[in-house]
């Protein structure tokens, strides 16, 4: 049972890694190819938020930490993603 749990955790980590790599490569491809830059920047930072959530949940194991940390860390990832996208969007349109 214990070995099965360990293998399951290792598989889960590999799946998380594969998703992180896939999101990174898709982000880079979109940034290079997509002409519509507002949509591209939104997708790139949305992917960054998803990647951050994967790192927090699967690697940092925030759901196993005290609930306060789980909430604070995951909210930070969401908020920083939105703020960074907002800043890049405004800069791309001549500033605030």
């Amino acid at each position: 049972m214990h070995v099965r749990e360990t293998r399951s955790a290792a598989l889960s980590n590999w799946l998380a890694w594969a998703l992180l790599v896939a999101f990174t490569l898709v982000s880079v491809t979109l940034a290079e190819l997509l002409d519509w830059r507002d949509i591209a920047s939104l997708v790139v930072f949305a992917f960054a938020v998803i990647k951050g959530q994967i790192v927090a949940v699967k690697f940092m194991e925030t759901p196993r930490a005290l609930p306060m940390w789980n909430v604070l860390y995951r909210i930070w990832i969401l908020v920083i993603g939105i703020v960074l996208w907002g800043g890049v969007f405004l800069a791309g349109h001549g500033g605030a």
Binding site: A9, L20, A48, A65, V83, A91, G92
Partner: protein, 196 residues
């Protein structure tokens, strides 16, 4: 009723210590402030920031992103191995994590050398001041985390069976994942945000 009786079972043995979760969160706030100042300057000087980004080596940064993601996988597996008491597996995972971290550092030094050789020093303009400050602060975090990983590796043979060692490794792992988390946002902000 004891205090532990009121805590749900999944929270009775959380990863790492409360101190490291607090420390990382404070570091998150500090980096948030740095990002905000960067964005305000980017909004003030969009042309300079777009031109600066165009000179950066995007391919090295992509390689560094993949290296940090992969190192996080090795670190997560190392923590899992330590919980299983599998010392050998834990040690090679930590070594693999260190190799990825080392390659990240080599890439970063190559990138800095190329930029400085081309005349793009921190004094060149506002973009480069932020570029060196943000990536430099992140680089120091990587180096600091690697020192802790080496420390965990050195003590692994003697202490792996102890609860304290597992906690120490979990703390190191959490910090390493935080370094990865920061880079996940630094990469699009510095290297992609001029193209999009």
């Amino acid at each position: 009723m004891s205090q532990s009786g009121s805590i749900p079972p999944e929270y009775t043995n959380p990863p790492g210590t409360n101190g490291i979760w607090t420390f990382i969160f404070i570091d998150m706030i500090v980096f948030s402030l740095i990002f905000l100042v960067f964005l305000s300057e980017k909004m003030r000087l969009p042309a300079i920031f777009a031109a600066g980004r165009a000179h950066l080596d995007f391919h090295l940064a992509l390689a560094n992103t993949l290296l940090l993601i992969t190192s996080s996988l090795f670190m997560a597996d190392a923590v899992g191995a330590a919980r299983d008491g599998a010392t050998g597996r834990m040690r090679w995972q930590l070594r693999a994590c260190l190799i990825c971290g080392g390659l990240f550092c080599v890439n970063k030094v190559v990138e800095y050398h190329a930029e400085i050789s081309a005349g793009f020093t921190p004094a060149h303009n506002s973009f480069y001041s932020f570029y060196y400050f943000i990536t430099g602060a992140h680089f120091l975090h990587v180096l600091g985390a690697m020192i802790f990983i080496v420390h965990c590796l050195r003590q692994s043979s003697a202490e792996v069976a102890h609860e304290g060692y597992r906690r120490k490794l979990e703390n190191t792992g959490l910090f390493w994942h935080f370094v990865d988390l920061l880079w996940i946002f630094i990469f699009p902000l510095l290297y992609l945000a001029g193209t999009i």
